[in-house]
């Protein structure tokens, strides 16, 4: 606990120059007051800085939705694609130019509903793409419909009588599909999130970070949350527990809580590297 506090102080004492990575003339952003997307964006930029990535070499790809507007605000090679299709576009870029750092920012509806098939297959290939899923359990851009991560019984504009569909566990699905780095963070735990994204960037292979991030405007109002901070405290702070702390907690203290931190990490051959071996060894041998 004490080290976390010390680190926080150290970070605060050194102001981070976000403008180094932002396109300031594209601000203000479209996100509502209380939305966590800006916090996630900042954590992502700090992680990118810590990883020492070259702006010219980063491709940031998104689909459609609130979180998918992120690429417009950052000074990289940025691609805002179609609903659900960020991963196949990103796969094309990565395969064509494996030397680039390819990252995807996507929402839970974008990644897991309309883009669900691409998500599981990108994980299966273990292509070196860092996927940040902004999970706010709602379709914010269309006004608050239920999504694949909306909890049971929740109210949305398309589940006025309560949601009867069980939510996906994004991390379990990523792991089962073959992703070699699976983690969860929240917009509440900003320092931890930055570290997790940094570790995801440094990992070679498909890295998925599920980021719990509240939508006070739609999910919050429909489900009687009083404020954005109340949502962050209930869903992100009290609704999650760090995987390391969880190891020492009794099962009753973990009931109904999502685990945070790096949940799964293995080393397996990466897709583009395997492709290059294929070129060098097999195809060139057969004339």
């Amino acid at each position: 606990m004490s080290t976390t506090v010390a680190e926080k102080k150290e970070k605060i004492s050194v102001p981070f120059d976000y403008n180094k990575y932002l396109r300031p003339n594209k601000l203000p952003h479209i996100w509502c007051p209380g939305c966590g997307h800006g916090i996630v964006l900042k954590a992502m930029l700090r992680a990118i800085d810590k990883a020492g990535l070259d702006k010219n070499n980063i491709a940031l790809v998104s689909g459609i939705g609130c979180s998918s507007r992120t690429p417009g605000y950052v000074d990289f090679n940025t691609l805002h694609t179609l609903h659900g299709r960020a991963l196949p576009f990103a796969t094309g870029i990565k395969l064509a130019k494996p030397e680039m750092n390819v990252m995807v920012v996507t929402g839970d509806g974008d990644a897991l509903a309309i883009g669900g098939n691409h998500f599981i297959h990108a994980c299966r290939r273990n292509i070196d793409i860092t996927v940040l899923v902004f999970t706010n359990a709602t379709y914010g851009m269309t006004g608050g419909q239920y999504s694949p991560t909306t909890p049971l019984d929740s109210i949305a504009t398309t589940s006025r009588y309560g949601n009867i569909e069980p939510p996906f566990d994004t991390c379990e699905m990523a792991k089962a599909s073959g992703a070699t780095f699976v983690a969860r963070g929240t917009a509440y735990h900003t320092i931890e999130l930055e570290k997790t994204i940094h570790e995801a960037i440094m990992h070679k292979g498909t890295s998925v970070v599920d980021i719990i991030d509240a939508c006070p405007t739609y999910y919050g109002r429909a489900n009687k949350f009083k404020s954005a901070t109340q949502m962050m405290e209930e869903i992100e702070k009290d609704g999650t527990v760090n995987v390391k702390q969880a190891a020492n907690l009794p099962p009753e203290k973990l009931a109904g809580k999502m685990l945070r931190g790096v949940l799964y990490k293995v080393e397996r051959p990466e897709y583009c590297e395997k492709y290059d071996i294929l070129i060098k060894e097999k195809a060139s041998a057969k004339k």
């Binding site: 594209k26 702006k55 010219n56 070499n57 491709a59 790809v61 690429p71 417009g72 000074d75 990289f76 090679n77 940025t78 691609l79 805002h80 694609t81 179609l82 299709r85 196949p88 576009f89 990103a90 796969t91 094309g92 870029i93 990565k94 395969l95 064509a96 130019k97 030397e99 680039m100 098939n117 691409h118 599981i120 297959h121 492709y275 294929l278 070129i279 097999k282 195809a283 060139s284 057969k286 004339k287």
Partner: protein, 377 residues
């Protein structure tokens, strides 16, 4: 000078040869009859050339990956057939608006729906033009022989790169699986065009620079950092709600193809000079039509053939001209009347226009065309 190599190739194999010759180095696709041989061929050829092949999880993934490859700077393509062509339509619209060069080959089979996967059709002609939502430019080429599949595939890449737009190659299943002798071209035999690249400073670069009708396109990762979106955008690539800019951009992407249509149009004209009845058709049906024209001439009928190799933009001028000096234009097509409507539009009542349709998965025969023409004498 290297010796000319002649090979007996299937239409889909000729398509692979054309793509490789044109410099295609990225293929993203999904298996579908009757186009699969293109994917199979590219999966063998591309790795040897340092190119990239990927079989994606679905048709949409195939074209989306190819668009990613194109943005990263590689000449890219995908190939499909009817149902897959339907699935790719949203990405085709994205490529039109974001102005990303791409070649899409559609080997036409019977539809609608799963239809007749192993049978030929020409029923995607309207889909090639109107399949994706919104107004957008369309360029589609229609080869009629196996060697022409090779050369038209090269032309498709050239047009895609020149015009920064998706270009379609449409041919029916008969041509896709037919074998004919093909001369493999040597370097220099065909023109190969590359997209224009910027020479300005990165900070001055705009991916839709309004000083150009078609702005140069920098590859991702080249130091030119820019934004691409499927939203209506300004010249710097960022979204806009400005109605003037939205109008100008929508009109410009149409205009860049429209004002250059004379250079995109390509027709073959067979005995049109004194023709009284003209057959207008494409693909394998044009082969039957050519045979019918010869037979009609032998029987003293002044028949001719107008065969477009560019079906979109539609050959308005050629059809308009011929309509003012013939009795009738007969339009045989393996669908229920898609080109016929366009021919009627261009003929403006100056001559009779009659369709000859077939949707049973069998080719339109020379004798069908022969008898149809004789009705107009």
């Amino acid at each position: 000078m290297a010796e000319k190599k002649k090979k007996l190739l299937q239409g889909n194999e000729a398509c692979v040869e054309g793509a490789i010759y044109a410099g295609c180095r990225f293929y993203g696709g999904y298996p579908i009859t009757p186009s699969t041989e293109i994917a199979e061929g590219m999966s063998v050829r591309l790795p040897k050339l340092g190119g990239k092949f990927i079989q994606m999880e679905d048709e949409i993934g195939g074209i989306a990956a190819a668009l990613g490859g194109s943005l990263a700077g590689l000449k890219s393509m995908t190939a499909t057939s009817g149902p897959g062509f339907s699935l790719k339509q949203e990405c085709i619209g994205y490529a039109c608006l974001a102005e990303i060069p791409l070649v899409i080959v559609d080997v036409m089979r019977g539809g609608p729906s799963t239809g007749y996967p192993t049978g030929p059709s020409q029923s995607d002609i309207m889909q090639a033009k109107w399949g994706t939502h919104g107004d957008h430019p369309a360029i589609a080429l229609t080869p009629s022989t196996v060697p022409e599949i090779l050369s038209e595939t090269i032309r498709a890449f050239n047009l895609a790169e020149q015009f920064r737009t998706p270009v379609m190659v449409l041919y029916d299943e008969i041509l896709g699986h037919m074998r004919e002798p093909v001369t493999i071209p040597n370097p220099g035999d065909f023109l190969v065009e590359d997209r224009a690249r910027p020479d300005c400073k990165p900070e001055e670069y705009h991916p839709y620079d309004d000083r150009f009708l078609i702005a140069p396109l920098a590859p991702f990762g080249s130091g030119y950092r820019f934004h691409v979106t499927g939203l209506n955008h300004k010249q710097d690539g960022f979204p806009t709600n400005d109605s003037k800019m939205i109008r100008e951009n929508n009109e410009r992407i149409m205009r860049k193809v429209h004002i250059n249509r004379e250079s995109i149009w390509q027709n073959e004209e067979v005995m049109l000079d004194d023709a009284e009845v003209v057959i207008f058709t494409i693909g394998s049906t044009a082969r039957s039509a050519r045979f019918a024209v010869n037979e009609l001439r032998k029987s003293g009928v002044k028949a001719g053939l107008l065969r477009p190799l560019t079906i979109w933009p539609f050959p308005d001028k050629a059809v308009g001209e011929i309509s003012s000096r013939v009795k009738a234009i007969i339009v045989p097509e393996m669908n229920l009347g898609q080109m016929t409507l366009e021919v009627e539009r261009c003929a403006r009542g100056r001559c009779a226009v009659e369709g000859l349709f077939r949707v049973d998965g069998e080719p339109i025969t020379p004798s069908q065309i022969f008898h149809e023409v004789r009705k107009y004498l």
